[in-house]
Structure formats: structure tokens, C-alpha cells
């Protein structure tokens, strides 16, 4: 061992100030659940909160046009032939969206159809809706761009003789304002946040060796002083979902069927491995663990923290936090927002493109991180809030469990800077991402145990 030969150096973990961003983060925590509500409230709140913002932008953009365009408050008050602009919620009418009616009426005898990779079809149409009603949007502007249900959008155009609204320009809320990050001027050495997703413990792709490597890397037990110094500059680790994947249980047909008993489908091993892994790294660095769609947690958005009792060893550490998905936090005045990927996975189904990074950037522009809730992304029926509105633009915005690593530094109209990171699954790629808290630069570290195709 090389460290034996040289003089032992004491390297200590760098410290950073953690901010739980209470007002933003608390909205993701659903304390008492009430299912008497319908989803109309959520859409209504979203429209109420975001319409003034979009309208302001629309007025800036179209308020002084010639010929004059007038603002119409209710979608249905549009008069045929008048050039006007309106603000409302997008609704995508897509016949390939999963339809529970079909599932229960028609083909109830076949196993449920596998989810389609995409919902798009030539017959799709785009509507703009508000509390008064909806109008169909047409025109080249509509055909050339992509839209998803739930986005609050302003459109400029006029109603044609078919009663459709021909759109010639579009506007969104745009990037939210941003808290100034004070770190830019610091002379301290750089600090990093490590972003990991898709540990995939229990899945076929899971490689125990790579998980060990990851633990060693994060705790600084790997490499020489240089590597260890690098590791020590990681001030926080965020695990963005799908840490555990419970394998499908193959039905045992040989046993005679017992009626009236539920077969136990519980497998404890992956949870134990995760617990040991977390115990190891929590001893050295602060860790936030978010649930993903495969984790043993709630399934509707926002996903609630994984029950700490499932991770008995890790939960003892003050550095351990089980958090929601999506998740807001602040480290040294750098604001971080991330999801475990479902938000973009769902948008992906509405869009022809394969470019998921572009979709994530679009959500910043929409100022909404999960517009497709509740239409196609399952969601708790909120009454007075829409927790997914981005009231401020984060400095770091990451999406877990994506097909490949991608990143871009997005600059907003008022100088907002957001580092967008698409995180691949660790089990599949062995890759994690490190974001520099001062410069917002982002690079990957590959801890692969073998060469991958």
C-alpha cells in the first residue's frame, strides 16, 4: 500500500453550510393524506399561481404589437377573428395515453399492455384550457414545438372559423428568479456535491464490487493523497432514487395453489446491503437519499422519504437524511433541486425527440418541474398548493436515472445560472457526477470495475 510508504497525511472532510430550504422543501412532504379531493384543485392552483407570471411576460412580448393584440381573460371569450392572446393550461389529447377504461373493459383477459415508450400519434391535438373551458390550438407554431399537459402557457393568435385558435407565438413563465450565490467570490478551495442515481441493488445489473468502490471513493479510502484530497472536497452526497430494485418473483407453479393466502414477496437482502453502504459513507460525509420509482416508498409524486426504520444502521448518523423526491436543498448558498427521473421520463413520452436534456431545460423555462402531474404522472391530490412550481431557479438541477450523462449550464434572461445534470444509472454505467459549488462546473467520475460496451 502506497500510503504506508509515505508519511501519513491527515486529510479532513471539508465543511459546508447546509440549508434545508424549508419553504420550498416542506411542500413536498405530505403529512396527513386526504383523498376526498379531486385533481381539479391542483390544476386550479397551478393556474392561479402561474397565470399572473405568464401574463406579465405575454404583455411584455405582445402588449405593443401592431396590429394591436388584446388580452382575453377567459379562453372562451375569444372572439372569432380578433387577434388576441390568452393564458391557460395545456392539455394534450392523445389517444395512446394509457386508458384505464380500456384496461378494464376491453382486454381484461390479457395481461395489461406494457407501457408504451411514447404516447405520440398523428391524431394528437393540443388544447389550452382555463376554468372556463378549452380551445384547440392549431398552426405551424403548434406543430413544430412540443407540449405536455399541465404547462401554463400564453398564446398569441386568433380563432378561425372552425372555432380553433390559430397560434402564431407562444410564451411561458420563463426561468424563475434566483438567489444570488455568494460563493463566487470566495478564495477557499473548491467544494463539490456528488450526485448518484440508480445504485440498483438487487437488480441483475448490480455489481457489488462497484458499490464498494463507490463507498471507498466517497469516504476517501481509494487512491493517493491527491484522490483523497479530491474526495475530501465532496461536502454532500445526494442519492437520486432507485437504490434498491426488488427483482420480479417468478411464480412457482409446481406448488399447489393455496387460496386465501398472500404470497410473501418480501426480499430483505437488498435493503441490508443498502443500509451497510449508507452506514459506511455516512460515517464520513453527509448523505441525502431520495426514493425513486423502484424504491420501497410511496409511488405517487412527490414520493415520501424511504422509511428510516428500513435502514436501521444508517439512520443513527446525523449525516444521514432520508428525503423526498423531488428534493430541494441548499449547500453553501447554492440551491439544489433534483428528481429521481420520473418527471422527465413522463415528459419523454409526449415528445418525439430523444434529447432528455432539452426536456429538462424546458421545465426550467416552464417554471414547473412536473407539469404532467397528475395527468399521466401519478400524484397526490393537492388542494391549496402546487409543490412542483419552481418558485426560484435552482443553481443545480439534476434528473436521476436517465439513459446517459448529459449536462448544460443554462443562463436565464436575468442572469440566472443553472447547472442541469442528467444522471445515468450507476448500476448500468458506474458513473457519478460531481458539481463544483463555486463554478457550477460538472464532471463525471467513472468507477467501473470492467470495460463496458
Amino acid at each position: 500500500m502506497s500510503s504506508m510508504e509515505t508519511e501519513p497525511v491527515s486529510i479532513s472532510r471539508r465543511q459546508a453550510v447546509f440549508d434545508s430550504l424549508g419553504p420550498l422543501q416542506e411542500k413536498f412532504v405530505v403529512k396527513s393524506r386526504d383523498y376526498k379531493m379531486q385533481y381539479a384543485h391542483l390544476y386550479f392552483m397551478r393556474l392561479m399561481l402561474m397565470r399572473p407570471i405568464v401574463l406579465e411576460h405575454a404583455q411584455q412580448k405582445w402588449g405593443s404589437l401592431d396590429p394591436k393584440a388584446k388580452h382575453v381573460e377567459k379562453v372562451l371569450d375569444v372572439q372569432q377573428g380578433d387577434i388576441s392572446y390568452l393564458v391557460g393550461t395545456v392539455y394534450m389529447d392523445m389517444k395512446l395515453k394509457p386508458n384505464i377504461l380500456d384496461d378494464i373493459t376491453k382486454d381484461h383477459w390479457i395481461a395489461a399492455q406494457p407501457d408504451r415508450p411514447k404516447y405520440i400519434d398523428d391524431s394528437d391535438s393540443v388544447y389550452l384550457e382555463d376554468e372556463s373551458g378549452r380551445v384547440k390550438l392549431t398552426g405551424p407554431k403548434i406543430n413544430s414545438d412540443f407540449f405536455v399537459t399541465g404547462v401554463i402557457m400564453g398564446v398569441l393568435g386568433s380563432e378561425d372559423t372552425d372555432g380553433d385558435f390559430k397560434v402564431i407565438d407562444i410564451c411561458y413563465a420563463g426561468e424563475a428568479p434566483q438567489e444570488q450565490s455568494s460563493l463566487m467570490e470566495t478564495d477557499e478551495a473548491d467544494k463539490y456535491v456528488a450526485l448518484v442515481s440508480g445504485l440498483g441493488i438487487g437488480s441483475n445489473e448490480f455489481k457489488p464490487l462497484e458499490l464498494d468502490l463507490l463507498a471507498e471513493f466517497l469516504t476517501g479510502e481509494i487512491g493517493g493523497t491527491k484522490e483523497q484530497t479530491n474526495s475530501s472536497s465532496i461536502v454532500r452526497v445526494i442519492i437520486a432514487g432507485n437504490s434498491i430494485i426488488i427483482p420480479d418473483i417468478v411464480e412457482d407453479d409446481t406448488k399447489t395453489k393455496k387460496y386465501g393466502y398472500d404470497r410473501s414477496t418480501f426480499v430483505t437482502e437488498p435493503t441490508k446491503i443498502l443500509d451497510r453502504f449508507l452506514q459506511e459513507i455516512c460515517s464520513s460525509v453527509a448523505v441525502d437519499i431520495m426514493p425513486g420509482d423502484k424504491d420501497p416508498s410511496s409511488v405517487t409524486m412527490p414520493q415520501q422519504p424511504i422509511h428510516p426504520a428500513l435502514l436501521p444502521s444508517a439512520r443513527g448518523f446525523s449525516t444521514f437524511q432520508s428525503v423526498t423526491n423531488p428534493y430541494w436543498s441548499g449547500v453553501d448558498n447554492v440551491t439544489i433541486l433534483g428528481t429521481s427521473g420520473q418527471t422527465i421520463d413522463d415528459i419523454y413520452k409526449y415528445v418525439k425527440s430523444e434529447n432528455r436534456l432539452e426536456m429538462a431545460i424546458k421545465t426550467l423555462n416552464w417554471r414547473h418541474l412536473a407539469p404532467t402531474t397528475p395527468d399521466t404522472l401519478w400524484c397526490y391530490p393537492f388542494k391549496d398548493i402546487d409543490p412542483f412550481i419552481m418558485h426560484q431557479a435552482p443553481h443545480i438541477y439534476f434528473i436521476g436515472n436517465q439513459d446517459k450523462f448529459a449536462t448544460e449550464l443554462v443562463t436565464g434572461k436575468q442572469g440566472q445560472r443553472t447547472r442541469v445534470v442528467m444522471l445515468p444509472s450507476f448500476a448500468l454505467t458506474g458513473t457519478i457526477a460531481l458539481v463544483n459549488l463555486r463554478t457550477l462546473e460538472c464532471h463525471t467520475v467513472c468507477l467501473s470495475s470492467s470495460t463496458r460496451k
Partner: protein, 1049 residues
């Protein structure tokens, strides 16, 4: 905008563009939009209402061509002669009323023995005196005719053709002749009358060769305009009946005019729990959609609303402050739009009578004139309609001169056999979509809200107005009915208002006129004479895992009539055989029913001629259909071939209808007798020919046969071979019969489950590579008093047996379902039974009536009213509680956790149909499906009301072992602590599954109602989602509370 100003504006735009680089690039587009918008801007949508303007028409030089859609008759006030009035549309869409004058009604009597032409004046006087009204006989002529009934050696005999002045004298004249009449030299001569029982209008159409809904041409110079102040039509003309040209609906003349179709729906504000009454409850909205036949989109969509209403995109909303004004405006609208066809859903029995009663109550005097004639009041009358094919129906009918009415509810009830006829389930069936159903108690609330809630109601009303139109388009009803009118020659409105017979009558009279026959007016008397029907070869029940070939006789009964020349005109009596020395099997044949009919070489029968014409026309239509590419023309041709087929098949029934215009049981009994013989012959021939002795690999076996088909098991395993054998066998057996009887190989069933007579199921193959469909006959999946579970289980079992060929799997599935049922795991929506509450005083107590009464006692407001559908489930009751008292409202059951009587569902709903399917396969062992291991575990929910629950104390129990928990334990007991993660996981999974269900169900309802921002109000009990949605709300709430007990462990 002048040229200059325009140019200036362009310049200004250009300059501004160069100055401001950041100006959006869409400005050009914006300006373009502005211009086109201004051009298309329509200030007043009511400008669209009127028909196309009329081009100048000069009767001296122009001819007038129109498609007639309806006709009626009236007496001319000055000449006192009957006039036919046609209502029609030209091919550019102008409305026409054409008065046809000069045609007089007539009938025949055989000249009494010894009667001479000289006796006519005396006879005329006697007859005139005999008819109550004087001066009513116009003329009596001597004609040589032949009665259609029986063969008389081809000799004509003298008839007197009596022409009357007034159609209303016909009955009197007929009575007079039948009573007996005396005149110079003749006393009390009783005469059977001929052709005296046909309506004047139909008589006229037959004589002028006019068929229903065909095109009529008035050549230049033959007609003149009439000034009719009371007519709404654009063209009003008069013509003499012998001048008009009737175009047969062939080639160019098979087109359809641009008919205006109006579909509408009304909403009334009822009171809670009471069916709306016109004297009390106001009409609050009327939505109307007008479409031109052949176009895909409506050109008028409007809704008239009492009180204000927010704007609806693409729709003309018209608010009214008074109901009287609304009703008056709607009747004005109808007259201005002047629709040719009026459709809706249950408009005959509800919307029209209600509107008329309401208008009368409010004193809207100009309302009840909805037809094309301003002097004829529109009224709703009760009609009774009784037909063997359609049963007895009591309906209301509303007259609207010149407008066809197609109540889609009646069309559905007539043409389709469905589980339920609510607009909801009909749409689910044919349009594949669920309809939002707003409960009538909410309608009043929405109306009393603000302009937004009224808008919501208006959208609902518009949808209901549009759906009948969509249904009609989808099912091609209008085209098919028009073609039926054309093929059979009856006026369009006979098709819905009358039965099958009139269609055959129309054709028979037409053909008789052509061939010189006259048709006796037999007084119809219901005789109970029953004749033997079709034969059924005793089924060899069982599950066949080899291909079964089906051989069918194509159009069996028509071809028998043609092959053996069975007709009124060929029927022989022994005396006639003797009189003309006819020789058996040379001149005539004896049918298997021992009736004698003369052979074709002596005389070809009228019925065989009609049938040949119909089937030839069908062949032509089908050939044209193959060539035609235009979708609309294809629809017309397809409608025609269908009409021709139905018409050909109804001829046989006509001869056998004892309560009919011209029953002749010799014909119908002979037809069925031939049919029986043929089925037997086919069986013998096939079984004698396809044998191992004759070199075939297996001996064929006829396992079942019914009416016109036989099922043959050739024994071979491959589909190709079976199909080949089937084809060969059909060809071979065909040679044993007279032409045009033809046995056809049509399909193979493989596998085939033969349950009993007229009950079977199988996979249907017409080509060897892929099956066409799963075909089931007589297996109750459509019975309405079954719950959905029965339907689903039977359907799934059949699919497993037939498609997957997994009999074991089907049994396993059945056992699992039964186990689930007994353990309360079946979704309650599957157990709901619905029945319409049509009257309250049933003779026996009925479950749904009793429940409605109980619900009324609980809350009169939400209880079902008369006409509503009552949904119920059967709940557990004490011993001896009658079944009708065990019905309960599903929502109440959900709320109170009332245990369901799962045993009832197993014994009374599932067991019979299941045994029926499995008995042919398993034999006596089928019973094992209903008893055994899987029925031992049962679970009953704990009710929150009634009985012992008053004394029960709730204690939390361990989620692992159900022992009562001690203080400080929230989820599990000490002993189960180790299992806590597992149990937590299990409950988390339950909550997750329910949450997903919750999300999917409620978002689906949002999609269906077409709004994200408004609450879902729909209460459609026919929709499979409704109860699931309610149930999941409760379940997810309960289970998340349970999950919350895992605070820690």
C-alpha cells in the same frame, strides 16, 4: 382599406422592423391573420340558418328535379278531390312542396255471375246509395284480371274496377260490397273486394312507380307555381299525376340530396326525486346541431339557454331571460333552418311531447308549428305498434309535415339487441367512448349557479345533441333506411312506424300490377294455426378440438321458393288439377307438406319473380360495391345490398303471418318442410360420402344442424384440409338440389364448444392462417339482469378455452375468481346489477323497486325517480329475508362496509352459465368448479351499521398476527417486531397500488368530461369506472391510515 393606405401600412411595418431588430418574426403572419380573420368574421351566426338561395325557375322552360322524402294527402277544398303532397329537396338543397292532383283511389270486385257491361249504371247507383256519402263513385270499368290467389289455368276473368272520388269512401264501399248489394236483376250480391285495403298514398306511389325517397322530375311545361302563404318551402308547385316522371333509384339517381339533419336535445330543471313534469318544470336549455347529409362536420351548433351563459367555442350561445322567449325562438329556428330530418335520443317519447306540453302550458302560441306547413299544428299522439318481430310498443308520435324523424333510441331498439339502451351504453358500444352523465338533481343546481355553471350544462347538452348525429353517421342509419325505402317502395316514415309486412305488400302490389293480377283484401283474423318450423339436428354436445366445417344454405327460404316455384299464383287445389288434367311431376309438384304447386314451365310465380329481382339486384349491388371507391357511394351500395337481403328474407315470413294481409300457410309450411328435408338430406349425403370406406381418412359426422346450416366434423386435424373438404362437400351436395339452392362452405369453427341447441361458441376461421373472431351464440353475456362479473368470467373462460386452448387454465381462472368472490376481493362495480325503474306498482316485489323506496326514505333528493336506472348489489341478510329486500345501493354499501352476499352471486349469477360452458367439457365433474378448496376461505367485511355493531368496541390489532395491541405498540406486537419491515412493505405496496388506481381513475374521468379545472360531476352508473372511483377513494384513505401506524419499529 384602400390601396394607398394598405401600402402605407406595409411601409410602416417594414420600417419598424428595421428599427427594432428584436420585433418578433411573426409580424407578417400576424397581419395576414388579421386580414383573413376580418374576411371570415361572422357577426351573426343566424345568417347561416337559411337554406341556399333559390335560383330563378321558369316552369315553361325549366324542369324541376327533386328527391322526395315524405308525402301526405289532403282533400282539395274546392274540387273535393284528393291531392298528394310531396316534400322534397333539390340537389342544390332548395326545399320543395309538390302537390300532385288528379289521382283517384280505386278497387276491384269480381263481376258477379251474369253481370254485363250494361249493368254498370244500375250497379253504380246502388253502390253510391250504399256508401254513406253520396256522389262518391266516379266511374266503374269492366276489366279482365286474374286473382293472385291460386292457379286458374292462366285464364283472366271479368272484374269491375270501381274508382272513387274520396279515399275516405273506400271503407264504406268495401263494407257495402261485403254486406251484399242489390240492383236491377241482382239481389244481395256479396262480393269479395280486391285491393281495397291499401292506403291511398301507397296506391298512388305504386301506380306511378314511385318508391320511397326517390327522385322525381317535373318536365318543363307540366307544372305551375302555387302561392302558398302557409308553406315554408322555397318552391311550391302543382302537377298532374300523369305528368311527373319517377326515376328508379339506379345509377345517377341513386344519389342522395343534401338533406339538412338537425339533432337536438333539451334539458329541464326537475325537482329533486321527481321525474320532470311539463306543467311545473321549466325547459332551460335546447341544443341543436345541424349537418348537411354527406358532410363530416355540422355547420350549425347552437344552444339556447334560459338566463346568461358563458361563451362556448365554435358555438352560438343564445341567452334568454324568459322561457317563453326561448321556446318561441327555438320554434323560429326550426322553421328557418327547415331541417329535412330531425333526430335525437328519445325525442319521440320525451323531448317533443315535453316541449309541446310546456309551450301549451306557457301559452307560446306560435310554438306548435314545427312542420313545413304553417297551418298544421304539431301535436304528440299516442300510438300503439304491434309486430311479431318487434313486439308491442307504445309510443308517442309527433307530426312535423315535411320532416322525417329518426329517434335514435327507437332505431337502436329496433335494429340492435343490447344490454342497455341508455345513450351512455349505446355510445360505449358503438362509438367506444363513455359519456359524462350529469345526474338530474345536479342539472337544476348548475342552472341556478352562474353563467359558468350554465355553460357547463350547455356543453353537456350539446354533447347529447351531437351524439345521436355521430351514432347515425357511424351506423349509417339514414342511408340504410333510405335504401330500404327505395328497395321496398314504401315511404320513409313507414319504416319506423310500421312492421315488416307493409314492405312485402308494397312489392307484391307493384309486381301484381305489372302482371295483371289483383289481390284480394282478406280480412285478417288471428288464427292460432301453427305450422311446423325449421328443423334442428340433435346436437352432439361437447368440446371439439378438431376443425368443424359449417355448411350453409345461402338465402335458404328465398331459394326454396324460387327453386320450387312456390307462390300464391302457382298454388293448386285438387279441383283445378282435375279441371285442367294436370300431371304430377310433369305439370306440378307435391311438396313435402302435401301441397301442390304448378311448375315453372306452366307459370312462373310472382313471389319467385320478386325474389329473383331482389337477389339479382343484390348481386349487382355487391359487384358495384367491389368496384366503387368513393366512401359515400359505397355506403349507399352497402345499405342497398343489406336492404335487399332483408327484404328477400321477409317474403317467407309474410306468407306465414296469420294476422296478415295475405297469409298462405301452404306456401310457408311447404318452405319449412323443404328446409327440413334439405337439412336431413345434407346430413345423409355428407355422412354417406365422406367415409373411411370411400377412401377418406375419417368418417364424417354431422354434429349439429339448425335451419339453414349443418356442422360437420370431418375428423381431419388441419384447417386447410377441413376447408377443402368443406368446399368439396358443399359443391357435391348442391348438385342434389334444384337451382338456385346452393349449399355454401363458409367457415370452420376450431375449436368448437357445442353446449346445446342454439348455444355454442367457437373460433371462427375463413382462411387457414388467422382466425377471424370468436363467435358465440346464445350464451348469456348480453342479459341485462346479470352483473358485469358474469359477463367477464364467461368471456374470459371462453377465450381461454377457445383462443388459448387452455381448458385447465380456464378452470383455474374460474376457481380463482370464485375464491376472490368469496373472499370479497372482487371489485364491487363488477357486482352491480342495474334495472330501469319503469313503474312502481309491479305485481311482485322487485329488488330494484324496493330499494328505490328505501332510498327515498333515506333521502328523497338523490333517490331514483321513475325512468331512472336503479343500480344495486345483493347484500347479506338474515335467514329468511326475501331476495328483494337484500338489494342495496352500491354507494351506501361502500360507505358502510356492508357485507355482500357473495353466495348469492355464486349460486344465482355465476353457477348456471359456468356449468353450461364446462359441462360439455368436464361432464359430471363440472360441479367440482363450484365446490372444493377454493370455496372454503371466505371473508366478510365488518359493517359499520346495524345489529351487533352497536355493542362492539374497536381495538387495534397487530398487523402481523391480529392479537390486540398493547399500549405503545402502534402497528405490530412484540412477537411480530421482526416482521415489521416485511409488513410495512406489504402495506406500502397496497397503498401504492391503490394510489395509482386513484390517479388513473380520476384523471380518466377528467379526460372524459373534457376539463381539468372543473370537478368531475358525472354519476353514470353504466360506466365501469363510477363505483371503482368511489371505492378507491375510501380504500386508499383507509389503507393510508393503516400505513401511518408504522411510525417506527
Amino acid at each position: 382599406m384602400t390601396e394607398d393606405a394598405h401600402a402605407a401600412k406595409k411601409r410602416r411595418m417594414n420600417s419598424s422592423k428595421s428599427q427594432l431588430e428584436s420585433q418578433p418574426s411573426f409580424l407578417d403572419e400576424l397581419e395576414l391573420l388579421q386580414e383573413t380573420s376580418n374576411a371570415s368574421k361572422l357577426d351573426d351566426p343566424s345568417l347561416l340558418w337559411a337554406r341556399p338561395t333559390l335560383n330563378k325557375l321558369n316552369p315553361a322552360t325549366d324542369s324541376l328535379v327533386f328527391q322526395q322524402i315524405e308525402a301526405d294527402e289532403y282533400m282539395h277544398t274546392s274540387t273535393h278531390t284528393p291531392v298528394i303532397r310531396f316534400y322534397g329537396v333539390t340537389d342544390v338543397g332548395n326545399s320543395v312542396i309538390c302537390h300532385v292532383t288528379g289521382f283517384l283511389p280505386y278497387f276491384y270486385v269480381p263481376a258477379p255471375f251474369g253481370f254485363k257491361i250494361e249493368n254498370i249504371p244500375a250497379f253504380k247507383t246502388a253502390l253510391e246509395n250504399g256508401i254513406e256519402k253520396g256522389n262518391s263513385v266516379v266511374k266503374i270499368e269492366w276489366k279482365l284480371k286474374e286473382s293472385i290467389f291460386g292457379y286458374h289455368g292462366g285464364e283472366k276473368s271479368p272484374f269491375l274496377k270501381i274508382t272513387l272520388k274520396d279515399p275516405r269512401s273506400m271503407a264504406g264501399a268495401k263494407r257495402c260490397m261485403e254486406r251484399g248489394i242489390s240492383f236491377a236483376g241482382f239481389s244481395d250480391v256479396v262480393c269479395q273486394t280486391y285491393e281495397s285495403n291499401i292506403a291511398y298514398l301507397l296506391r298512388f306511389m305504386i301506380d306511378c312507380r314511385i318508391t320511397g325517397a326517390n327522385w322525381i322530375e317535373l318536365p318543363a311545361g307540366t307544372f305551375h307555381f302555387r302561392n302558398d302563404s302557409n308553406s315554408n318551402a322555397q318552391i311550391n308547385v302543382e302537377v298532374s299525376y300523369d305528368k311527373l316522371i319517377s326515376h328508379q333509384p339506379e345509377g345517377e339517381w341513386s344519389k342522395v340530396a343534401p338533406l339538412r339533419i338537425m339533432s337536438f336535445d333539451i334539458e329541464c330543471a326537475g325537482r329533486k326525486g321527481i321525474f320532470p313534469e311539463a306543467k311545473i318544470d321549466p325547459v332551460i336549455q335546447i341544443a341543436s346541431i345541424v349537418t348537411v347529409q354527406g358532410e363530416s362536420k355540422p355547420f350549425i351548433r347552437n344552444v339556447m339557454v334560459l338566463n346568461s351563459c358563458a361563451h362556448i367555442v365554435g358555438t352560438h350561445t343564445m341567452p334568454f331571460d324568459e322561457e317563453e322567449k326561448l321556446l318561441a325562438a327555438w320554434s323560429d329556428f326550426v322553421r328557418r333552418v327547415d331541417p329535412d330530418v330531425v333526430i335525437g335520443y328519445n325525442t319521440s317519447n320525451f323531448d317533443f311531447p315535453y316541449l309541446l306540453d310546456r309551450a301549451k302550458h306557457l301559452g307560446v302560441l306560435k310554438f306548435p308549428f314545427l312542420g313545413r306547413l304553417n297551418d298544421i299544428r304539431t301535436e304528440a299522439k299516442d300510438t300503439k305498434f304491434s309486430s311479431k318481430a318487434y313486439g308491442n310498443r307504445e309510443n308517442k308520435s309527433t307530426n312535423m309535415e315535411g320532416r322525417l324523424q329518426l329517434d335514435m333510441l327507437q332505431v337502436m331498439q329496433r335494429d340492435y339487441k343490447l344490454r342497455s339502451y341508455t345513450l351512455n351504453s349505446v355510445c360505449a358500444e358503438f362509438l367506444g367512448e363513455q359519456k359524462e352523465d350529469v345526474h338530474h338533481s345536479i342539472i337544476t343546481e348548475l342552472q341556478n349557479g352562474n353563467e359558468e355553471t350554465r355553460r357547463r350544462l350547455a356543453i353537456y347538452c350539446l354533447k347529447d345533441a351531437y351524439l345521436p348525429q355521430r351514432l347515425m353517421d357511424k351506423l349509417m342509419c339514414l342511408i340504410n333506411y333510405i335504401e330500404m325505402a327505395r328497395v321496398t317502395g314504401v315511404p320513409f316514415n313507414y319504416l319506423l312506424a310500421r312492421g315488416q309486412q307493409i314492405k312485402v305488400v308494397s312489392q307484391l302490389f307493384r309486381k301484381a300490377l305489372e302482371k295483371g293480377f289483383v289481390i284480394p283484401a282478406v280480412s285478417s283474423q288471428g288464427s292460432e294455426d301453427q305450422y311446423e318450423g325449421a328443423t334442428v339436428i340433435e346436437p352432439r354436445k361437447g368440446y371439439y378440438d378438431v376443425p368443424i366445417a359449417t355448411l350453409d344454405f345461402a338465402s335458404l327460404y328465398p331459394s326454396i321458393m324460387m327453386a320450387h316455384n312456390l307462390c300464391y299464383t302457382t298454388l293448386l287445389t285438387p279441383s283445378i288439377i282435375q279441371k285442367y288434367n294436370l300431371v304430377k311431376d310433369v305439370d306440378y309438384v307435391i311438396t313435402p307438406n302435401n301441397d301442390a304447386f304448378v311448375m315453372e314451365k306452366k307459370r312462373k310465380g310472382v313471389l319467385p319473380i320478386i325474389l329473383t329481382d331482389l337477389l339479382d339486384a343484390r348481386k349487382r349491388a355487391k359487384a358495384d360495391l367491389k368496384k366503387e371507391t368513393d366512401p359515400f357511394k359505397r355506403a349507399v351500395l352497402d345499405g342497398r345490398q343489406l336492404a335487399l337481403k332483408i327484404s328477400a328474407n321477409s317474403v317467407y315470413g309474410f306468407t306465414g303471418a296469420t294476422v296478415g294481409k295475405l297469409p298462405c300457410l301452404q306456401i310457408s309450411s311447404s318452405v319449412t318442410a323443404y328446409g327440413r328435408v334439405m337439412i336431413e338430406t345434407t346430413k345423409q349425403e355428407v355422412e354417406a360420402t365422406y367415409t373411411v370406406e370411400n377412401g377418406y381418412s375419417h368418417t364424417a359426422e354431422v354434429i349439429y344442424g339448425d335451419t339453414d346450416s349443418v356442422m360437420v366434423k370431418f375428423g381431419v386435424k388441419s384447417l386447410e384440409e377441413t376447408m377443402e373438404l368443406g368446399r368439396k362437400a358443399a359443391e357435391y351436395v348442391t348438385t342434389k338440389f334444384e337451382k338456385p339452392i346452393k349449399l355454401e362452405f363458409e367457415k370452420v369453427y376450431f375449436p368448437y364448444l357445442l353446449i346445446n341447441k342454439k348455444r355454442y361458441a367457437g373460433l371462427y376461421w375463413t382462411k387457414p392462417d388467422k382466425y377471424d373472431k370468436m363467435d358465440t351464440k346464445g350464451i348469456e353475456t348480453v342479459r341485462r339482469d346479470n352483473c358485469r362479473l358474469v359477463h367477464n368470467v364467461i368471456d374470459t373462460c371462453l377465450r381461454k378455452i377457445l383462443i388459448d386452448r387452455d381448458v385447465i387454465g380456464a378452470q383455474e381462472y374460474t376457481k380463482q375468481i370464485i375464491a376472490d368472490l368469496l373472499q370479497n376481493k372482487i371489485d364491487m362495480a363488477q357486482l352491480v346489477i342495474t334495472k330501469a325503474l319503469s313503474k312502481t306498482d309491479y305485481a311482485n316485489k322487485q329488488a330494484h323497486v324496493e330499494l328505490a323506496e328505501r332510498m327515498r326514505q333515506r333521502d328523497a333528493g338523490s333517490a331514483p325517480a321513475l325512468g331512472d336506472r336503479v343500480a344495486y348489489v345483493i347484500i347479506k341478510g338474515g335467514k329468511g329475508v326475501a331476495a328483494y329486500d337484500k338489494s342495496e345501493d352500491p354507494l351506501y354499501v361502500l360507505e358502510k362496509n356492508i357485507p355482500i352476499d357473495t353466495k348469492y352471486y355464486l349460486d344465482n349469477q355465476l353457477s348456471k352459465p359456468l356449468l353450461r360452458i364446462f359441462e360439455p367439457i368436464l361432464g359430471d365433474k363440472a360441479d367440482s368448479l363450484l365446490t372444493g378448496d377454493h370455496t372454503r376461505t371466505i371473508q366478510v367485511s365488518t359493517p359499520s351499521v346495524g345489529g351487533l355493531m352497536k355493542f362492539a368496541v374497536k381495538t387495534a390489532t397487530c398487523l402481523g398476527c391480529k392479537t390486540p395491541l398493547k399500549k405503545g405498540e402502534s402497528a405490530v406486537c412484540v412477537n411480530c417486531k421482526d416482521r415489521a419491515p416485511e409488513l410495512y412493505q406489504k402495506h406500502q405496496n397496497i397503498v401504492n397500488a391503490l394510489e395509482v388506481r386513484f390517479s388513473r381513475l380520476w384523471t380518466q374521468c377528467q379526460r372524459c368530461q373534457g376539463s381539468l379545472h372543473q370537478e368531475v360531476l358525472c354519476t353514470s352508473k353504466d360506466c365501469p369506472i363510477f363505483y371503482m372511483r368511489k371505492k378507491v377513494q375510501k380504500e386508499v384513505q383507509d389503507s393510508s391510515i393503516t400505513l401511518d401506524r408504522f411510525v417506527d419499529w
